[in-house]
Symmetry: C5
Subunit: 100 residues, 5 copies
């Protein structure tokens, strides 16, 4: 999985019928030091992630291993809202600090 920050949303009315009701988030990928990468992913959300939260995004067929997504044409999904990232002794990210 990759670390990403929720940056925005993508809205569509004319789409595959199976995608109705799926919330599509625009995620900016983040490197292991917490820096933003010039890469993004539009991913389905099922954990209730909001803008500015850091999340884990899974890609490929893994995105369909989520209740309700089994038959949707999804290649990316948010699977977790991150609480903390530790890199050796350092705390790279903490959700609590982010929002204090």
């Amino acid at each position: 999985m990759q670390i990403a920050k929720v940056r925005g949303t993508v809205v569509s009315t004319q789409k595959e019928p199976s995608l109705r009701g799926v919330k599509l988030l625009l995620l900016q990928l983040v490197d292991e030091e917490g820096n933003f990468l010039q890469k993004y992913e539009v991913a389905a959300d099922s954990v209730g992630a909001g803008v500015d939260e850091w999340v884990l995004v899974t890609r490929g067929s893994a995105a369909r291993q989520i209740l309700g997504n089994e038959q949707r044409p999804l290649d990316a999904a948010v699977v977790a809202i991150i609480d903390t990232i530790h890199l050796e002794d350092r705390l790279i990210y903490s959700k609590k600090d982010q929002y204090r």
Copy 2:
């Protein structure tokens, strides 16, 4: 999924029999700020996307999670025509504005 703009079409007569009747669009990938990337994808269309529209493209086995595509040798498909893209407070793209 990635954001892409429909740029053109690819036509073939000598092909896998299962691809007969499949419309193949030439998509240029777009970054999260709306800039064009030096990347493209040839993808099957089932949502009726036309040249200049911005779409979502799904890749890998997800392309076969669409009615009729289940057994086609496709690794990319257009799954939605985009109405709007929001990046935090900014409206990065709006289909309405695009065509006014």
Copy 3:
């Protein structure tokens, strides 16, 4: 799918038994403007593509959605010989012109 030009062939006698009889083409990937990329793919051919023809290559599990390939360890296959590529109003490639 990606656009590619057939550049050559790869021959092997000592290989997975299921690959016997599979023709392996060396494909050079082409960008959306028709320029050659520094990327290639060795792909199974089932549409009878020959050197210099432009083709569509599918990758990943899609390569096994072809009659006979279902249980072969293939991650790339030629699925179409391209007749024409249109990028907006321009004809980027035409098989007819290529061979006149």
Copy 4:
């Protein structure tokens, strides 16, 4: 598979229910000479790898070919703790030397 060094951990409480109890490691990818790459992966661990150990990471649907992971939305997993890496005649890495 790719070679990676365990650098840290990612912790999340709000996540896909199927990910409960899964240990998520932050891995830094390593090249074939043993140099660190500017690439990382967050992967599920089932072999008991700890910080500083060198491991093999498998990606894509392979991550779900592990007992207990079959239905988890994982696209990366640690599958082995590396003892030695040989590049021709040279010993590039040895777990024993690493820890002496």
Copy 5:
């Protein structure tokens, strides 16, 4: 598939039980002109490839389309030892010449 040269081996004792007995080769990827790329893959071998031989490596779920690998967490496998590579009229590689 990609062309690669066998450069070495990776050994592990603490690993997924299903990987016991699997020989893991360190492969350096080669471009279509025969030049070495700064990319590698650790892949399972089932064709008996040895150091210095040029091989074809398949990636993704294709690696599990090999007898015995069906349920192993592998995302790369050697599927053929290459005899010759032809690029248009030129012989880029010949196993015979390599070893004369």
